[in-house]
Amino acid sequence: LDTFIAAVYEHPVLRPKATETPVSRDDALLHMNKNIDILERAIQQAAAQGAQIIVTPEDALYGWKFTRETIFPYLEDIQDPRVAWIPCQDPHRFGDTPVQARLSCLAKNNSIYVLANIGDKKPCNSHKSTCPPNGYYQYNTNVVYDAKGQLVARYHKYNLYSEPQFDAPENPELVTFNTAFGKFGIFTCFDILFHDPAVTLVKDLQVDTILFPTAWINVLPLLTAIEFHSAWAMGMRVNLLAANIHHVQQNMTGSGIYAPDSPKIFHYDMKTSEGKLLLWELNSHPRNSPDYPAAVDWSAYATTIKPFPVQKNTFSGFMSRDEFNFTELFENAGNLSVCHKDLCCHLSYRMLRKGNEVYVLGAFTGLHGRRRREYWQVCTMLKCKTTNVTTCGQPVETALTRFDVFSLSGTFRTKYVFPEVLLTKVKLSPGKFEVLKDGRLVNKN
């Protein structure tokens, strides 16, 4: 199939009451089935609208606040897909697996591929030093059932984030599966910030589409779900189906269907407690499509031009825990450069009307934040929270200033650069900007 209809569902998860002690297996099943009841309606709606595949979010059956002990009743033993198993047809072949049987039946009864995120448990030899005290490894796991209900993929999340209830596999798992509408890869939430398995799936295994369940907490100005996930899809030049949890109390919203050339459809809702189903028709093999973007040499432009004047009053400011160098956009239009260590960022711009707002150009290169695990290189033009430049880098959700020209580039030392454009009220701007082959991020026309 040259195209397929993809669906993602932003799920307002019903979270269990926090408990110190594990609930019974029956209570855990009761709770998971309440969430599956909601997912079932979304799956039925998606199938009725012709979707061939649907992604549901990470932690969608039970939420995230657990200890190793309290998550245990929610876990099931999930088989390797090589056993060729249709849980809906053969629910007792591998013990007590009612959740897997029900999810498999949802896929089979609606003739649609379903990705769900559930918990896996694997017994281990307690003499082995890495075997946890209860004798089980516990994994944050994605499962995919095909349109006949067969288990075709199982992925154990590798880059965990504050998940004491789960273990990470010893090595990253490169999980793909083939369909009549392209080759799919899978990873989860925090994985998207790292090379393995995320980049390897695209670069080496050449998947067409990534299935991405997430429970993403939005962090402005750079790491809000719709902004970063759509930018990752553009930077990696791959389809990305992102299904997020909907939980506004913890700033969790932001799902979308993103293609290499631009975001196709997205959802961001901090006002209601409603779920949201998104569908879009995508290219099964985006690399073969005429609008597949050319490869970008991200530093080509920035390393060949003579740097623009670096203004005297460059100043430093923090974005969460990262110290940026900033320079203010004083004039309505201009060319600016600002550097941080060996990263220099260049901006040409023209504002339509300079309101009473302050914008800065910022540069940062270094190990990020408190974790100091990931090495970031960031060039950003952003609105400061107030006209006081000490607020530059703080989260801002609205703006008044329009730009009829911008062109941003940087002397990046990495080829993995993700282009972000975020508009007032936290919206994307599909089709309104592009990345040129020499690495400039420019507004269209």
Binding site: N159, L160, Y161, S162, E163, P164, A168, P169, N171, P172, F190, D191, F194, H195, V199, L220, P221, L222, E227, F228, A231, C345, L352, T365, L367, R371, R372, R373, E374, Y375, W376, C379, T380, M381, L382, K383, V396, E397, T398, L400, F403, D404, F406, S409, G410, F412, T414, Y416, V417, F418, P419, E420, V421, L422, L423, T424, S429, F433, G439, N443
Partner: protein, 31 residues
């Protein structure tokens, strides 16, 4: 030009080879 006011325009680069060695998820859970 862009139809609506801008919050941020960014180029977000990840230099994976310079990540800190302890950055393999298999070892520990991020706080």
């Amino acid at each position: 030009g862009l139809s609506e006011p801008i919050l941020t325009v960014s180029l977000f680069g990840r230099w994976y080879t310079k990540d800190s060695p302890s950055s393999s998820g298999g070892i520990r859970n991020l706080e």
